[in-house]
């Protein structure tokens, strides 16, 4: 499965304004809550996890993959993308500030591993994040990701 197959355009947001990292995480998840992929409790757990353990889902410079424990309310596998208009700090040192969020709903099944492998490959490409910057609309983000992951 390609990342672009999982990424629902309705869960992609560009030019999002966030006050701080909590606001960014909540806003990144709001389409997934609306679509029923995750519960409000799942989002709360994603915020609480960072408060307790530090920014464990800020995975590389400028990129966060917000997620929580599946049992806190992941109903089905889903991923979104959220590009902030201005980056926020997660207290993640060299990986701060964060501008690109990929909210993830991972259930117990291993079905998401292939998609995460695709995301790892994309993030390993230097041109990936700058290509995200060029996207003006959600559909462009999905198309850019589709083109790039098929070229890898």
């Amino acid at each position: 499965m390609f990342l672009s197959d999982l990424l629902d355009e309705k869960c992609v947001q560009v030019g999002v304004e966030a006050r701080d990292w909590r606001d960014a995480v909540r806003k990144s998840f709001s389409p997934l809550v609306e679509s029923g992929a995750v519960s409000e409790a799942y989002v709360a757990d994603a915020v609480a996890g960072v408060e307790k353990y530090g920014p464990y889902y800020v995975v590389c410079p400028h990129v966060a993959l917000p997620h929580a424990r599946p049992e806190s309310g992941a109903r089905r596998m889903a991923m979104g993308a959220c590009i902030l208009s201005l980056p926020v700090s997660f207290g993640a040192r060299e990986n701060d500030p964060v501008r690109y969020l990929f909210p993830l709903s991972a259930t117990e099944a291993d079905g998401h591993l292939e998609v995460l492998a695709r995301l790892v490959d994309l993030l390993s490409e230097e041109r990936f994040l700058s290509s995200m910057d060029g996207a003006q609309a959600p559909v462009e983000v999905v198309e850019m990701i589709r083109d790039m992951e098929r070229s890898l």
């Binding site: 353990y53 530090g54 800020v58 993640a92 995460l116």
Partner: protein
Amino acid sequence: MSQKFRALVCCRAGMGSSAMLKIKCDQVISEEGYPIETSQGNLDALMGFDGDLVITMSDLAEELIEDGNHKYVAGIRNIVDKKEIKEALEAFLASKSE
């Protein structure tokens, strides 16, 4: 068959960050031919883990070290940085050959 070190790649949820980190670690281990095999889990899996090495995001790594985790803990800051992962794994292997 030479001895392989067993590593647990973990994050808090055991789903996202650790899965991505395991994917990149496995790429590095395979390319470099390190004698390390990885499994993936959450903090609960860590409690029952009796292997040699814990690989996790650096913030969680600091927490584990502070908590007095007795296993070797390697913290990774940038999970797509092969060089960082390579250095961390080599430091672990060096500690085992002392």
